[in-house]
Amino acid sequence: MSVEMARRGLRAPVNVAWEITQRCNLHCIHCLSDSGVPSERELTTHECRDLINQLAALKVFQINIGGGEPFLREDFFELLIHSHEKGLVTCVSTNGTVINNRVAQELSGLKMFYLQVSLDGATAAINDRIRGKGTYDKILNALNCLARQGVSFSINTVLTRLNFPQLNTLRALAADYGAELRVSRFRPSGRGKSINKYLGPTKEQLEFFAEWLKEHDLVRTGDSFFCLTSESRRRKGLDMCGAAKMTCCISPTGDFYPCAFLQEEPFLAGNVRRASLKDLWNNSAVFLQLRNLEVKTCTTCLRFEMCRGGCPAVAYHTYHDIHYPDPECLVNLRIDAEKKGTLGLAKYSYALR
């Protein structure tokens, strides 16, 4: 029932992914936003406050703030506090490198606040290949600062070919901090496009990961892996793509998209400087298209109720067409494995650390 309600489209987003700056002090090889140098004409403090007011007026529940590195904005705490005063829950994704004791202490006073710290390997050897030399130590320092100040956080790992063997160690590392491990899906957008063949998990890894998730109930996946979700995890998140139905994305310059992974010209609905959020959400052609998207080849699949065609962004970045099925859904993976004769997972059990 709830899926049907959501499919019809809601009056406003449930949550909004807001890339609040393009500026970043790291150059992660898989960055979905290709962050680094700040965009020209990023939203000013005044414009950001106005946007927050609009989100609150629409009764959006949560803002997922990312970037770039949000903490590099000088007005970031002001905007966080303004969001909370307006009743909006915030979830901030950070690379952790600018979190010290002082920042952690400031965060410790915030309510209505979640924090995700990115870590892409359980060792410096793996993490630093993805996020840059020296980042592993800086991230662990951030985790220690946060833990000392009693700030709760989750560790967010983008599943890649490189860190797949470290899933158990990453889970244990998170547990040592009393934190949840959140595993996100690698999508070939931003800088991830050019590195996909090298970094994207293999099909066998994804197939194994689907089994691994069944045994690790406390590992979270957000909305990342519904294409692989087993029946036992169905109630843990959405069973479909939420883009344009429950969520949307705002870029540092105010561009409005259905999803952070579809920040491409064909999916640009407009800009919050020139149109109201309400109008963009309700009336833009791109959003209506996503709401009515039906991946016809999937409708007869036994898993259709569990993924509804999977992630349109992965389909788009793979086939340049969102009407194609998710190439990494469990059914497609198994068909592929049967063809290759690699169906069966035992050979991977030794590889996980």
Binding site: S2, M5, R8, R11, V14, F61, G87, V89
Partner: protein, 90 residues
């Protein structure tokens, strides 16, 4: 106490808003969403805890306009939301 005599407020960390199908709840625990298929019968103000479901419906729509079965169904759904910690009795 008759079940429809209950009054409810939102649990801490819960927010609610009106949608075409009824009410959409968001809880920080999770975070998670819950849907209440109540159409236009309830609004977020119901969760100020000032009146029972029966009183609310009588005031807002005139009880005769809503069948007893429908009231019982909504009350059952409210009870389920209470069981999940989304709303609490007051």
């Amino acid at each position: 106490m008759n079940k429809v005599d209950l009054r409810y407020i939102l649990a801490p960390g819960t927010q609610v808003r009106e949608e075409e199908f009824g009410l959409l709840f968001y809880t920080m625990a999770g975070p998670r969403l819950y849907f209440l298929s109540s159409g236009k019968l309830l609004s977020s103000l119901f969760f100020e805890g000032e009146c029972t479901l029966e009183q609310w419906i009588k005031q807002k729509c005139g009880k005769e306009a809503v069948s007893d079965d429908r009231i019982i169904e909504i009350e059952r759904n409210l009870s389920q939301l209470k069981g999940k910690g989304v709303i609490i009795e007051c």
